[in-house]
Each structure stands twice: as structure tokens, then as C-alpha cells.
Amino acid sequence: MSIHAHSLSVYVAVNAGSNGKKGSSSGVMNWISSACRFATDRNDFRRNLLVNLGLFAAGVWVARNLSDFDLSPQPVT
């Protein structure tokens, strides 16, 4: 009986550890899925604001770095 109790206690301890790992991984998965839902929700104001802030920063970068081309180049003599 004591051997069974011991094995039972070991079995419970192993399952408790694996349940903890499953709990943390499910927490990470929950966070990832909620982040994906946030990123694809077009009706969310904060999400739209973040996306448009990124677009504004990209537009400023393009204006500062990619607009310095000469539209009427003079022929090289």
C-alpha cells in the first residue's frame, strides 16, 4: 500500500509539474492570440492609432531619405 501511495504521490507530482508547464504555455498562447486579435481588429481605436503612428513615422523617413533626387539633371560635361 505504501508503494502504491508513493507511486500515486509521484504520479500526482509529475502531473502537477506538467499542468504548470501546460498552464504557462497556454498563457503564452492566450497572449499571442489576443495580440493577433488586437492587430487585426480594424474597429479598435488604439490599434488604428498605433498603425497610423507607424505609417506616419515611415512617411517621415521616406520624405527625409528618399526625396532628394534631382528631377532635372544637367548633362555631365
Binding site: 481605436f45 488604428n48 492609432l49 498603425v51 497610423n52 505609417l55 506616419f56 512617411g59 517621415v60
Partner: protein
């Protein structure tokens, strides 16, 4: 005489262009506050510091001009066919006829007149300036601008819908050495006890940085409220970055002058009241040799637009083509305009 400018149609670029023109009006020079000087000549750091010590801070310009440089890069949406005929009758007086044929709204005809006085305050500014236009139903838009003293400029504006006054406002600008203050009174009604008061203040902190604020107070019977917003503008050697923050939302703009031919603007608008944000990217291409100006824009609402303006010299003719396409709503709008004179 500089007042010849009042008789002729404004040749681009208008030297002292300013506040929004009513449809069909050609704004003569001097109509509004002087433009902000956007480009600071590149100087060395040490010479810049010496200049700071020697020269006072510059006047930052009007509060309403903060986002103007960026806004002017974007094409203006136009629909239908527009014909504008300008005729100068004397050095002080000019009339214009505007005919708008529209497929979506009502077609209209507007008659406008502009009077520019003889009080000269600068090579391109004459006062008083009186501009008005009326459509075929009797609706009137009118503005009177006058430079009262060297530092104080006042403006009175009216708008009527046939015989009923819809908008009436008066404002006064005070231009200090390194600051600008404005007070505007909108639709004041002493009998009912309603009206809107708007105050602006803009202060130069450094030759490149200007900070300011806006306070809007509105009152109606049984209701009153105030809204405040802050603005900051940084002017670089070839760019201007402006940010306006308030309880109603935020507005950020970046203007970049790449060269004499290309100007780029990026704008972000966020409204907490409408729970909506948008970003717009625009550019302006000037080809003086071809007398051509092209403006294009793209925004986050999937709207793509462009306008092409070409002067058909030596004729006093200017041609404008405009097209806007809303991909999200599958809507297309185009416009065609001719300006004579």
C-alpha cells in the same frame, strides 16, 4: 504701383498667401497674416549662437499658419466643371465670375468683387481689403481686413444663407516681437447670450522652436464649455514639424522641401471624439519651365488623389485637372477647371 497686383489675377506663387479663400475668390496679396518663414538658412553652430545673442527671436507667425505649409502640398478635391473669369477694373478693384457645373451637388454661379485700399504696409500688402461674393440665390460671403496699427490687424467676416445671417465673426491679431496673440469672437449674440471666443498665443522659444496654445470657449443658453489645445512647431533647414495636442485629438504634420521642384508632406490626424485616425502622404512637383504643377496624395483610408495645374502661356489661361479615387468605397471623382485672367 504695387496695387496693380490687386487688378491682375494672382500670379503663382502668391507672395503673401494666407487664409482659406471662399469658392470662386482669388485672394489678393496681403489677405491675412504674413506667411511663416519656413526655411532657416543653414549656418554653423557657433555663428548661429552668436546670431542668437545678437538678434532677437523672430516673430513666429500666426497660429493658424502652423500646419499650412504641409496642407498646401496636398491636392484640393474638386468635382465637376469650374469656370472662373477674373477681370481687373482698376488698380484697386477686381471682379470675378465663377460658374460651377456639378454632377453630385447643385450647379451654381457666384459673382465676386475685391477691393484693395491704398494704405501700404509692405511691398505686397495693401489695406483695407474687402472681398465678397454672392451666388444666384443671394447667399453672401464677405470679409473685411484692415491693418489698424503696425502691430494690430483686424478682420470681420460674414456669411449669409439667402437673407439669413449664418456666420459672423470678428478677430484681432497682435503681432509682437517674438509672439503672436489672436482673439476671435464667433457668432456673438448678446440677446440670447451665446457665442464662441477663441484665443491663440504663439511664442518663439528659440529661432527654430515655437510653442503655443489655443483656448476655445463656447456658450449657449444652458450650456457652456471650453477646449484647450497646445501646439509646438520646429523649423529646420528644409523642414517643418508641427504637433497639436488637445482633448479633442491630435494633429501632427511634417513638411519637407527636398529641392526647388519637390515638396513632400506627411500628416497624421487623430480624433478622440470620432474615435478615428488617418495618415496622409502628399507631394508637390513644380516644373516652372513647363508652367506645370502636380500634386498627389495617398492616405490610410485608401484614397488616392491628384491635381494637375498648367498655365497656357502666353494666353491668360490656367487649366486644372483633378481626380480622386476611393478604393475602399469604389468611388471616383474628377474635376476640370479653367481660370481666365
Amino acid at each position: 504701383m504695387g496695387s496693380v497686383l490687386a487688378a491682375s489675377s494672382p500670379s503663382p506663387p502668391p507672395p503673401a498667401s494666407s487664409g482659406a479663400a471662399s469658392p470662386g475668390l482669388t485672394m489678393p496679396p496681403g489677405f491675412g497674416m504674413p506667411p511663416v518663414s519656413p526655411v532657416i538658412p543653414p549656418t554653423g553652430v557657433h555663428s548661429g549662437q552668436q546670431q542668437d545673442a545678437e538678434n532677437p527671436l523672430p516673430n513666429p507667425g500666426a497660429f493658424d499658419e502652423c500646419h499650412r505649409k504641409c496642407k498646401e502640398v496636398f491636392p484640393m478635391q474638386m468635382e465637376g466643371v469650374r469656370l472662373v473669369v477674373n477681370k481687373g477694373l482698376s488698380n484697386h478693384f477686381q471682379v470675378n465670375h465663377t460658374m460651377l457645373l456639378s454632377t453630385m451637388g447643385d450647379s451654381s454661379y457666384r459673382f465676386g468683387a475685391t477691393y484693395v485700399g491704398s494704405k501700404q504696409t509692405s511691398p505686397a500688402e495693401f489695406f483695407p481689403v474687402m472681398v465678397g461674393d454672392m451666388d444666384s440665390s443671394g447667399s453672401l460671403n464677405a470679409q473685411i481686413i484692415h491693418q489698424i496699427t503696425n502691430r494690430i490687424r483686424s478682420k470681420v467676416a460674414f456669411q449669409t444663407q439667402q437673407q439669413k445671417f449664418v456666420n459672423w465673426q470678428m478677430d484681432a491679431d497682435f503681432k509682437g516681437e517674438d509672439f503672436t496673440a489672436t482673439i476671435t469672437l464667433g457668432n456673438p449674440d448678446v440677446l440670447i447670450g451665446s457665442g464662441i471666443v477663441v484665443t491663440h498665443y504663439l511664442q518663439s522659444i528659440t529661432p527654430a522652436l515655437a510653442l503655443g496654445g489655443e483656448l476655445v470657449y463656447h456658450r449657449r443658453p444652458g450650456e457652456e464649455g471650453a477646449v484647450m489645445s497646445l501646439v509646438g512647431r520646429y523649423t529646420g533647414s528644409n523642414y517643418i514639424a508641427t504637433l497639436t495636442l488637445g482633448s479633442a485629438g491630435a494633429h501632427a504634420s511634417y513638411y519637407h522641401k527636398a529641392n526647388d521642384q519637390l515638396q513632400v508632406g506627411v500628416e497624421l490626424e487623430a480624433s478622440t471624439r470620432m474615435q478615428d485616425t488617418s495618415v496622409s502622404f502628399g507631394y508637390q512637383l513644380d516644373v516652372p519651365k513647363a508652367n506645370l504643377q502636380f500634386k498627389g496624395s495617398l492616405d490610410s483610408n485608401w484614397v488616392v488623389g491628384a491635381t494637375l495645374e498648367k498655365k497656357l502661356l502666353p494666353l491668360p489661361l490656367s487649366l486644372v485637372l483633378c481626380a480622386f479615387l476611393n478604393h475602399r468605397k469604389s468611388k471616383f471623382q474628377c474635376g476640370f477647371g479653367v481660370t481666365i485672367g
